[in-house]
C-alpha cells in the first residue's frame, strides 16, 4: 500500500474535528486584535482531512517502520530493549498527564515524590548521590555535566584557572566533543590502545600540561570493553586537578554489578531511554539525568526536588548552580516510566537484566567470530564490534551487510561507529532477546557471509524485501527538499 503526504490527501472542506460551541458572548474580532496582527492566509496549505483520513494515513505510515516489538533491534550503544506497556499506562494516568508544571507544590506532591524517589534510586544505582532529572536527553545531560565541571573548577580555582582542555577518547560518541565545546572547552583526544582501551601513557602526558579540566569517558567504552584501569584513569585525572565525566550510554552493562561512583567518576549522565527502557519513540523523547558526587552537588541545575519530612518541594536556593538547562523539571513522563521500571525489576531484576544483556552479547561474539573479524580480542560486555574486513575482499561492505540483514527480518546494528574501527558493526542485543532469536540472527549473519562469498551482488543490492530500495542520500543532501510545497 502506498500513502501520499497528508498534504496530498487533503481535500477542501473535509474536517476531522468538532469543538463544543463557543459559550461566551463574542466580541468583534477587530476589537480584540487589530487586523494587521492577525494572519490573512487562511492557513492555506494546512491539510483538510477527516478523522478517518488521519487514522488511515498514520496507520499506513506506521506499517513501514521496524520496531522493537517486531524483533531484535541490535543498535549498538542505543540499548533498544523492550518498552513495558505498564509504564506507558502509568505515564498516562490523568493525575500525572493533566498536571500543570506550575501547580502549587501542595497540589503536586505525588509528582514531586516521583521525581524524588527516582533521584534516590539513580543515586543508589550509580553510587553518585547528587541527581537532577532536568536534562531532556543524553547529550543534554552531558552538557549539564560538563558545565558543572566548569562551574566547579571556576569555584575551586577561580574563573581564570586556565583549565581549558577536555580530554576525550577517539572512540567517543560525537556528542561528547560537541558538548565539551558548548561549555567552552577545547578538546584533546586520547587514543585507544590495540587492546581497545584508553592509552594510559598518553593520558598521563595530556594531563601533565596543567590545563586539563577533565576527561569524558564512556565505560564500558564504545567498543564494548570495560576500562579495567578505570580507577587509575580517574586517579591520573584527579591528580592533574581535573574531573572525570562518564558517558552513561553503556550503563546497561553495569547496573547492579558495578557503580561509577565507586570507580572514581565525578559526574555521569544516564539515558533513561536506554538503560531504563523508556521508549525511544523514533527519535525521542529521551531523558538524561545527571548524577554527581557530593562535591559537585551544589552545581546541579535548579530547581532541585528535595524532601522536608513528609513533604516534597522545589529548592531554588542553590547559589552555585549552573542554572536551568530546561524550562520546568525535565521530561517528567520519562521519569515515571523509569521509576516503574526500577520498581518492577527490584535489585535482583536489575542485576539479572544486566547479566543477561552481557551474556547475550558474549554469546553473539562467540558464535559470529568464525565468520566475521573482531578487531579487539578482549571479551566484550553488553555489545560487541565486528568489521567487514573479510567480506570487503569480495566488495561487500558493512553497509551492504546491514541492508541485507533487513531482508532476514532484523534491524541492522549500528554501523561505521566507533569511527576508529574501519567498517565497524556494533551489535548490542540487550536482555530483551531470547536465545532462539539470537540463534536466528547468528544464522542470518552467517548466511550473509556465505552470500558475500558466493553472490556478493545479492548483498550489495539489498534490501530486496522493503517497500523502497536504497535511497540516494547524497543527492538528497546536495539539493535538499525539506518541506512539501504545492508545486513539488
Amino acid at each position: 500500500q502506498n500513502e501520499d503526504l497528508i498534504f496530498e490527501r487533503s481535500r477542501r472542506g473535509r474536517i476531522g474535528y468538532r469543538l463544543p460551541e463557543l459559550d461566551v458572548e463574542e466580541a468583534p474580532l477587530d476589537a480584540l486584535i487589530p487586523r494587521e496582527l492577525r494572519r490573512d492566509d487562511d492557513l492555506e496549505g494546512v491539510p483538510e482531512v477527516s478523522e478517518v483520513d488521519v487514522v488511515r494515513h498514520f496507520t499506513r505510515l506506521s506499517t513501514w517502520n521496524y520496531a522493537v516489538d517486531h524483533g531484535m533491534y541490535p543498535l549498538g550503544s542505543c540499548t533498544m530493549k523492550y518498552n513495558p506497556r505498564l509504564n506507558e499506562r502509568i505515564a498516562r494516568l490523568a493525575g500525572f498527564a493533566d498536571l500543570h508544571p506550575l501547580t502549587p507544590e501542595e497540589d503536586a506532591q505525588g509528582a514531586l515524590q516521583v521525581i524524588y524517589e527516582l533521584q534516590e534510586h539513580l543515586a543508589e544505582i550509580t553510587g553518585l548521590p547528587g541527581v537532577s532529572l532536568q536534562p531532556a536527553a543524553g547529550a543534554h545531560g552531558e552538557m549539564t555535566g560538563i558545565m558543572m565541571i566548569r562551574a566547579f573548577l571556576d569555584a575551586r580555582d577561580g574563573k581564570r584557572h586556565g583549565r581549558s582542555v577536555m580530554i576525550i577518547p577517539d572512540s567517543a560518541h560525537g556528542t561528547n566533543p560537541a558538548s565539551a565545546h558548548l561549555s567552552g572547552f577545547k578538546v584533546k583526544t586520547v587514543k585507544t590502545t590495540p587492546e581497545g582501551l584508553t592509552d594510559l601513557d598518553q593520558l598521563r602526558e595530556l594531563c601533565a600540561t596543567g590545563d586539563v579540566a577533565g576527561l569524558m569517558l564512556t565505560n564500558p567504552n564504545t567498543l564494548g570493553l570495560f576500562e579495567k584501569e578505570i580507577r587509575e584513569i580517574c586517579r591520573i585525572v584527579h591528580d592533574a586537578g581535573g574531573l572525570v565525566y562518564m558517558d552513561g550510554a553503556n550503563m546497561n552493562a553495569l547496573v547492579g554489578w558495578a557503580r561509577p561512583g565507586d570507580m572514581g567518576v565525578d559526574v555521569i549522565h544516564l539515558n533513561l531511554h536506554k538503560t531504563f527502557s523508556t521508549p525511544h519513540g523514533g527519535g525521542g523523547p529521551g531523558s538524561g539525568p545527571c548524577c554527581c558526587t557530593k562535591e559537585l552537588e551544589p552545581f546541579l541545575p535548579v530547581p532541585r526536588v528535595v524532601r522536608d519530612g513528609d513533604r516534597f518541594r522545589l529548592d531554588y536556593d542553590r547559589p552555585h548552580s549552573i542554572g536551568r538547562v530546561k524550562a520546568f523539571y525535565g521530561n517528567f513522563g520519562m521519569a515515571l516510566r523509569a521509576l516503574a521500571y526500577i520498581l518492577t525489576h527490584g535489585p535482583d531484576g536489575l542485576r539479572e537484566a544486566t547479566e543477561t544483556a552481557v551474556l547475550n552479547a558474549r554469546y553473539l561474539a562467540h558464535h559470529l567470530a568464525s565468520d566475521y573479524e573482531r578487531p579487539y580480542d578482549a571479551p566484550p560486555m553488553h555489545e560487541v564490534v565486528f568489521t567487514d574486513k573479510r567480506q570487503a575482499r569480495k566488495g561487500v561492505h558493512t553497509l551492504d551487510i546491514a541492508k541485507r540483514l533487513i531482508d532476514y527480518g532484523f534491524h541492522p546494528p549500528t554501523i561505521y561507529f566507533p569511527l576508529i574501527v574501519q567498517g565497524a558493526m556494533l551489535i548490542e542485543p540487550t536482555e530483551s532477546v531470547g536465545r532462539e532469536e539470537l540463534d536466528q540472527f547468528i544464522e542470518a549473519m552467517r548466511s550473509i557471509a556465505r552470500e558475500a562469498e558466493e553472490d556478493p551482488e545479492l548483498v550489495r543490492s539489498a534490501p530486496h524485501t522493503t517497500r523502497i530500495s536504497r535511497l540516494d542520500e547524497a543527492s538528497a543532501a546536495r539539493r535538499p527538499i525539506l518541506r512539501w510545497r504545492p508545486e513539488n
Binding site: L19, S62, M80, I90
Partner: protein
Amino acid sequence: MRYIPNSPEERAEMLRAIGLESAEQLFASIPEELLLRAPLRTPAAMSEPEVLAKFEGLAARNRAAGRPSFLGAGAYRHYAPTIIDHLISRAEFFTAYTPYQPEISQGTLQAIFEFQTLVCQLTGMEVANASMYDGSTALAEAVLMAERITGRSRVVISTAIHPEYFDVVHTYVQHAGIELARVGYDEQTGQTVIDREKALDERTAALVIQSPNFFGCLEDVQRMAASAHEVGALLIVVITEALSLGLLRPPGQCGADIVVAEGQSFGIPLSFGGPYVGLFATRERFVRQMPGRLVGVASDKEGRRGFVLTLAAREQHIRREKATSNICTNEGLVALAATIYMTTLGRRGLQEVAYQCAQKAAYAARRLASLEGFALPHSAPRFNEFVVRAPVRADELLEQLAAERKITGGLALSRYFPDRPNDILVCVTEVNTRSEIDALVAGLKELTASSVATSLSGE
C-alpha cells in the same frame, strides 16, 4: 523477571555454550574491588498490580490535575483528540529508534517531513527542523545559531519573555562568550520597548522577543524586525502558546529570522512539564547553521520517492566539536503527536480553536476587569493570556481560591517578578467553560470582598 525472555536454565546453557561456568565470569574484566557485593538498596521487585496501585496513589496526590485551571505561562490546557494517543501508541512508532535505516523507517521519516512542513506553514518560515527538546532549549539554540550566522556576540532579550526561558538561554551561553543584554517592557502597554540607541548596536547578533509575550501581550513583531535588521541583527521570535498561530500573523510574515516555539499546545499532555516539543524554523539561507535533525526527500533506484535524514554534515556524529549543536535524541514521538494534532484539527480547526481561545479570554478579561478593586494593567492586544491586578496579594488569594473553591486561578506573577505582588497571569483556553470562568470571577469577587470593602472605607 518477566521482561527477560531467557530463563535461568537457558542462561546456564548459553554460558556453557560459550565456555563459561557462571554469570560472574561475564564480568571478569571489572576489577574485583569494583564489583558490587551487596544488592542495590532499591525497593524489592513489585508485581504489576502493585506498581500500578503505587502510581495511582501518587497520581491521586496531585490534587490539581482534575480541577478547573487558568494556569498557562508556558504550558497550556487544550483538548487533544483521542486518536493522537491511539496512533502514537502503535509500537511501530513508539518502540522505534531514530530513523537511521531509511528502508525500514519510512513511517517515522515521512511523518517528520510532514511535521517540518506544518511548522513552516504555521510560522510562515521556509525551513524547520525535526524538533528540539522544548521551547526553552530551542530558544537557547537559536541564540547560539544567531551568533554563528552573524559572527557577533551580543544578544538582546526582552524581559517580557518567559523567565525560565531566559534562565535556560543564560545557562547555555554562559561559556560561549555571548553577552546577554535585556530590554524592558512598557508597564502601560505590556509590550517590549527598545531604546534603540542603547539597546541595539553593531555588535548585536540578535534581538529576542516573545509574542504573545509572557504577560499575554502581542508584540509589534514587524517593528521589532525592522529595528533589529537596521543594525544587521537577526530577530528571533519565541512563542510559548503555539495555538496563537491559528489566529495571529506568523512571525515569518513579519520579518523574523528564526522562530522557535513550544509545541505543547498541539495535543501534548501537560505531564508536569515534559516531555514537550520545541519547534525551530528559519530562513532557507540559514539551513546549514540550523541545529537538530532534518528530513529530506530522496529517491530510490527505481525513482520512488522516499525520505531520509539529511544534511547530517552539520551534526555532531560527523563534525563532533564543530557541530551546530550537541542535540541527538530530540522529541520524535512528541513531534509525531503534534503532527497528528495539527492534521486532525487542520486548516479550519486550528483557526477555530485559536478563535475560541481569544474570545473566551476576552470574556474572562471583561468580567474580571469589572470586579471592584481589580484591573487589567496592560493595554496591548492579547491572545489567551492576560494579567489581572488584584486588590490583595496574588499568591495568598490564589491559595485561598484553590483551597476553598477547588479552582486553580492562574499564576501569581510574584513567582518570577517579586515587584508585582498583586498580579495574576490568567490563561483561558477552549477547554475552560463559561461556567468555570464565571466561578473564577465569583470566587475572586467573594474572596476579596472584605478587603475591597476595607480599602473603600479607607478612601
